[in-house]
């Protein structure tokens, strides 16, 4: 039992904007009143619902490959020394599992969504997720380049394909579906890419990326998955790709969709020398179409490591940088590429990327539809979110930062003309209430009665980065996990998943295909329920 008195509450899910109220917690949930128990005096402090990261990469084959590929970062980064409450680990560009939990919780985040899990490495992903303490977790399974599903769509067997998708979601113990460069990663196995929505995918006669996207979105709606199709569009990162992104949005008109890391898909220009921001055009379209949500995928300057299932893009990035490159082809399912990268303010392309992320966050009017993310670790590491919050809340700070950009950037970005400054209420929306709603996690990002008692208490501080980087208290399921920058407790988080219904005959359909094409036997493939620690199966919903 816990009482929190006198705090200034920002709870966008219930429309509470800075009112002083008391909160009571019992058995991990918010309740009306409690008698006895511990009391936290939060007078003069700011209370947010615990942060929710809608798109991050914290567990599984790709991030682990990134860890292995960047020993140089491990030598220079923050080390977590084992203590009574903490396991050892390291921070840096690709933090280790335990450190990931400490770092997220240390910044007031209590729920994270691992955004890309190939079914083949789902078991590995869940093992790592169970080693990320404190935060609750969910994961999305990669489907858009799955050979079995694509073959069925090519043959016009939509219904069968839908059963397969539902089967894969449950086999991977996932919470939803992620699509990465639909068709492009499959084409990469032929040394090609798929940059246009209407071009046939290499290796297929009729199937186009557009078909894959619209079919997947429809399946997800019909299956009633709470989180809509989580889409990494085709043509990521290239100048002029805004036309592909707009085309994709038009394909999905009238359907639910979440556009991941939109920053990487909002560029104008024809080549690297003429690249410019197209955030304004994209935001204008986005604002007019309420069916969509997005996360920013903002970039911050500095060292990081880029990891994505988008194999062809990572090969291009490797060719551009001449640095290290790792590539994994995940059998018939998807790909994976790893390239360490440094975003430099002096580099025109990086400067445009930095501006585009912020422009999207500032130009999209509705904070319920655009969320705080860096596509960790691609744009920057998640523990740098307070820097982005600072940039969003202070136009002066943005202008200061813009002074370090190349002088010829002015004609390429619109950021200098934007005066909007986020309020605390809006920050609470983009870092917690909004992403929780988009994920369909109704008990998260919400300080209402009966909801999960995940909250963060900040000291008022003029230094915004310090305020958001060092919360006074972080409370997870009613337990104080962080106090004054120290980890006080490391409870296990839950893992959210979904069990869509599918035809029981799907196993018999898949078995011969597996024996024909996969390196492992069918029986060993689905992740067993016993593998998941603290599972929490969510209900499917009716989608209109």
């Amino acid at each position: 039992m816990l009482k929190i008195t006198g705090g200034q509450i920002y709870d966008p899910a219930n429309g509470i904007n800075g009112e002083v109220r008391d909160l009571a917690v019992d058995d991990g949930k918010f309740v009306d009143t409690v008698v006895g128990g511990h009391t936290i005096d939060a007078t003069g402090m700011v209370i947010f619902p615990g942060g929710v990261d809608v798109h991050t990469h914290v567990a599984g084959g790709s991030i682990n490959f990134a860890r292995a590929m960047t020993p140089e970062d491990h030598r220079r980064t923050q080390a977590f020394i084992r203590s009574q409450t903490r396991r050892s680990g390291i921070g840096g560009m690709a933090p280790t599992t335990f450190a990931t939990g400490y770092l997220y919780a240390g910044m007031g985040f209590t729920t994270v969504n691992e955004a890309a899990v190939p079914p083949l490495s789902a078991r590995h992903t869940h093992e790592e997720l169970s080693d990320i303490p404190i935060v609750d977790k969910s994961s999305l399974v990669l489907m858009a380049n799955n050979e079995i599903m694509m073959d069925l769509l090519e043959d016009g067997e939509y219904d069968r394909a839908k059963q397969i998708v539902a089967w894969y979601i449950w086999a991977s113990k996932s919470y939803g579906v992620k699509a990465v460069n639909p068709g492009g990663v499959a084409a990469w196995k032929y040394g090609k890419d798929a940059r246009q929505l209407t071009e046939t995918i290499s290796g297929y006669k009729n199937l186009t990326p557009g078909n894959v996207i619209t079919n997947l979105a429809q399946m997800i709606d019909e299956l009633g998955i709470p989180h809509p199709l989580h889409l990494h569009c085709n043509d990521l990162g290239r100048p002029g790709n805004v036309t592909t992104t707009l085309e994709t949005m038009k394909h999905l008109e009238g359907r639910r969709a979440h556009f991941a890391h939109l920053q990487y898909h909002a560029y104008g220009g024809d080549d690297w020398t003429t690249m410019k921001s197209a955030a304004a055009d994209l935001a204008e379209y986005f604002n007019a179409h309420p069916n969509m949500t997005t996360d920013a995928g903002a970039v911050l300057f500095g060292d990081t490591v880029t990891i994505t299932a988008d194999g062809p893009w990572q090969h291009l990035l490797y060719k551009l940088t001449g640095r290290k490159w790792g590539n994994l082809d995940v059998e018939n399912e998807t790909g994976c590429g790893i390239v360490p990268y440094t975003y430099k303010p002096s580099n025109l392309v990086n400067a445009v990327q930095w501006a585009v992320g912020l422009e999207l966050l500032l130009l999209i009017d509705d904070p319920w539809r655009v969320f705080l993310s860096t596509d960790h670790p691609n744009g920057a590491c998640f523990w740098r979110y307070p820097e982005i919050i600072h940039l969003l809340m202070s136009a002066d700070f943005r202008n200061d930062c813009m002074k370090q950009l190349p002088t010829n950037i002015k004609t390429r970005i619109t950021l200098p003309e934007i005066n909007r400054e986020y309020t605390l209420y809006e920050i609470a929306t983009i870092m917690s209430a909004g992403p929780a709603r988009a994920l369909g996690l109704n008990n998260k990002g919400n300080l209402g009665l009966g909801k999960d008692a995940d909250l963060v208490i900040y000291d008022h501080d003029k230094d915004i980065e310090r305020m958001f980087g060092h919360p006074r208290y972080v409370i997870k399921a009613g337990e104080v996990v962080v106090e004054d920058g120290d980890i006080r407790g490391t409870p296990e988080g839950r893992e959210y998943m979904i069990k869509p219904s599918f035809d029981p005959g799907t196993d018999d359909f898949l078995r011969p295909l597996f024996e024909d094409r996969y390196c492992m036997s069918f029986e060993n493939y689905p992740v067993e329920m016993e593998r998941i620690e603290n599972p929490d199966i969510q209900e499917c919903i009716d989608v209109e």
Partner: protein, 271 residues
Amino acid sequence: MSTIKLTLKQEPTVVLEAEVITPDNLAALTNKEICALTVYHGKRVMRIDDFFDVVGEKSDVLEMHGNLHRVRQVGRAMSRGSITIHGDIGMHLGAHMKGGRIEVHGNAGDWVGGEMKDGFIHVHGKAGQQVGAAYRGSLMGMNGGTIIIDDTAGIEVGMRMRRGLIIIGRAAKDFVGLQMKGGTIVLCEGAAIRTGAWMQRGTIISLVELQLMPTFVESGSYNPTFLYVYSKRLKELGVTLPYLPSEGSYARYAGDKAVPGKGEILVWQER
């Protein structure tokens, strides 16, 4: 000037991590404070005086005695002063060093001067592998300074080095100058195979014939002017580099064309 003398009294049974032993750390400390400094014997936290007799205080001139082949990281990131070692020393000697001087009257382990930025290291005996090299994953090895090994050296001498000078007195093993990005390596008695593999820039000078990879292209024979200047500097370090046209010339090989790189290997050919 006074000297701090560290004499090994008890040989460590496992590796002793002694990155604390640098002139920078010891210069302002009293004898008592030095004795209390932390070293790691494997995972155990120990004091310097558990292993060493410490004589002297408040000096940036260090002297070490004994069979120190399990003592690692001595002189790590030092920026001034000197360390003179009488005996064999373990791995990572002078790693990340920024200045000062280390002299070893004995052999040294692997990673001598790993990723050093400046300073001077002279090993009178043999050195292990990866002299002046980049640590695993790093893009850049040694970025300045000088390393002289009088005897032989192991594989990957100067791996990914960017600037600086490495001189190996006797034959080095495979992969000298692997992925080298700049700087100079002088091989007084040549090296084993695959010298200069993946080198992008920089110069490897060999005073004897070398087995070269097919990805190096013969591009003439000459007496570079810079070697005249260079040999003067090397003379101060006790190394004789021939340069006179009357004595011979250097055959130049450009590569590694597999990268493709713009490095060069110069092989001395006596007249």
